[in-house]
């Protein structure tokens, strides 16, 4: 859903039947539908060229596991994009959250859930700190999160160096290996089980998508965040506590970063300082491809999932086709350009047809 600060003012003035028709049309012609079409077309093309692309164990399961983690990363960035800010420390916040979780397991001997909770709290606390600095000093989020990124890089490295000899927390609490490798086939109701191609780790992403989707679609706080991102001065004059909304958005970003760090550590097998080092570009790519505005005021939660899926499907497909390192990023860029141009052209044609 692309959620705007005030998306439906015009729609509200129309009769209910016209509103429903307009929504259906928008759903079918919007950016998310376009992305979905492109993703499906690419899956068919790659699957036709390499039938092994549909291999549930070797391709689909790990692909969905990666999409699950990166979607949460995208949502972490989306949270601050909603208020027109950026979080350049999204990767280090993930590393910090994972550090606290790993510390909880290896040094404190806590169980899987408690370690996860502490990791999420740590991520949220760092996010809140970023928000407090931004609102307290008035310094741009770009600068504050960049500085925080460097500080966390040093801190995380220092802690791993102090507490481990391998620069990693390698203790796996009971349940971690299962979370990594189990699929929906291991969740059954009676005799009916889920698909072995869908990892259980994706459930975290579903919860995150539902939570963030609810926040921006239904909750007053989310609407106020979008209004703050759309026009902070107008929002302030309207009585919205913009500073609290800024802190809230950064706290949510930190919380989701911590979750993504935990998910990556579970997927990889240990908690290391390298967690999150490759998160920054996907964190922007997913939301922006999905329709989230870099300037704030408009977010697309499902679009983030679609955007991440698009890039991961392209990468996996090219890898299956044996595209070498030299060409991989060139083809990735070209396909993304063509795909997004196709979506845009389709939208323009639809708009013209409707207006005529």
């Amino acid at each position: 859903m692309t959620l705007l600060a005030d998306p439906d003012s015009e729609t509200q003035r129309r009769p209910p039947a016209a509103r429903r028709g307009r929504w259906v049309l928008r759903a079918l012609t919007g950016q998310r539908a376009g992305l979905a079409v492109v993703v499906v077309v690419l899956i068919i093309v790659f699957g036709t060229l390499r039938p092994a692309f549909y291999d549930s164990r070797l391709v689909v399961f790990p692909l969905l596991r990666d999409i699950a983690t990166l979607t949460v990363v995208g949502l972490a960035q989306l949270a601050v994009l909603s208020i027109g800010h950026m979080n350049l420390a999204v990767g280090r916040m993930a590393a910090f959250g994972a550090l606290v979780s790993g510390f909880s397991y290896q040094v404190l001997g806590l169980n899987l859930v408690l370690g996860l909770v502490l990791g999420l709290v740590a991520g949220a606390a760092v996010g809140a700190l970023a928000g407090l600095i931004i609102t307290g000093t008035g310094v741009n989020s770009f600068v504050v999160t960049l500085g925080l990124d460097f500080a966390l890089l040093g801190l995380v490295t220092l802690v791993y160096g102090q507490f481990t000899t391998l620069a990693a927390f390698t203790v796996k609490p009971p349940g971690m290996e299962e979370l990594r490798s189990y699929s929906m086939a291991d969740l059954c109701v009676g005799d009916v089980c889920g698909s072995p191609a869908v990892p259980q780790l994706l459930l975290f992403t579903v919860v995150a998508l539902a939570g963030v989707g609810y926040l921006f679609a239904r909750a007053r706080t989310g609407r106020e965040m979008l209004l703050t991102g759309s026009n902070a001065t107008a929002a302030e004059l309207s009585g919205i506590p913009t500073k609290r909304r800024v802190i809230g958005a950064h706290t949510l970003s930190g919380l989701l970063s911590g979750l993504a760090g935990f998910m990556l550590a579970v997927t990889a097998g240990s908690f290391t300082a390298g967690i999150g080092s490759a998160f920054l570009i996907p964190s922007f790519l997913g939301p922006v491809l999905g329709g989230t505005a870099l300037t704030g005021g408009a977010v697309s939660v499902i679009g983030t999932f679609m955007g991440i899926s698009l890039t991961q499907v392209i990468q996996q497909g090219l890898s299956m086709l044996g595209v070498g390192l030299e060409s991989l990023n060139i083809y990735l860029g070209l396909i993304l350009l063509v795909a997004l141009s196709a979506v845009r052209i389709r939208q323009l044609f639809t708009r013209r047809r409707r207006s005529s």
Binding site: P62, G161, E177
Partner: protein
Amino acid sequence: MNTTRAVRVGLSALGIAALVVTAGCSTRGATGGGGGAPAAPAATSAAQVKVALVPGGAHPYFQPWKTAGDQAKTDLGLGGVTFDETGQWDQAKQNAALNSLAAQGYNAMGIFGVSPTDINSTFTDLKSKGITVASLGSCPAGDVDQASFCLSTEVQQAAEKAAQAAITAMGGQGVLVHLTGNNVDSNTQRRIAGVKQAIDATGGKVRLLTTITDIDTDLQTAQKAVSDLLSAQGGQINGIVSTAYNPAVAAAAAVKASKLPIKDVAIDDDPTILAGIRDGSVSATVAQNPAGQAYVGTWALTKLVTGACTVATPGVAIDSGSFVVDSKNVASYDTERQAKTKALLEQFQNTVLRCKAQ
């Protein structure tokens, strides 16, 4: 407005729910992870063996893997050998590349894991899918290796050798600097420990001025770090030991350009370093054996996949060799390295593997 939005949220949730609870019955063993028992590799001919040599990412160190893999393919009559460096030094990306290769029918893999603390999980996954794996160039951190075997330079020992060569060149005393790679990599920690061992053995005659880490990302980063070091403290440094490729190349060029009386000991055999040894600006280097790792690794993997042999001690680590190269043996060290590769083949045949009588 609220109804419309609720419908949108509901439809979106339904879409995701449909994805998650895709109908279909299966058992736990069918999951994608390592929960299932490893499939026993069926006996196959060499022509059915497809070997993937997978470094953590692009790096000059691994370039000999390509030619050695091709040579092994010809010599052993393999169905295919590929070299895939698309991991981009990210464990998640390397895992994706490995899964793609497995889906393409590669049934044996020689892997340099990006993250030594995570790679055992990857090995377990691949083994559960019936793929035979070996760690090449780097062993997993800790005491357990889930791969069939590890064929790698013993990094701590190689670093100690390099530091000893530097200390000898310094006349057994003075101030030494250590240049190395990613600080949060367990292999780097082993290298730091190796250098420390050599320094400790001098009984205080050699002092470690500093260990500069995280400068193996690219040559430019290493050049800047070495330039800053020589500008600020070049006058008090007697020796530099590098235990990573890019810092070694950068230090060789910078020491020569600065004309400071610093004894430089490098790692690997980049042409810049060998030229430095020939003209005397580099005291020595510690060459490794990447070609031997790829050739012997591919040979052993083939024996395992075809069922001709099994590993006597699964997860065993074998040193692929490291060679101190100085002005005396710079022209002939490669002969020594080739001899080591032949010795490794014999070692695998006689002790590492248990082979059926022909």
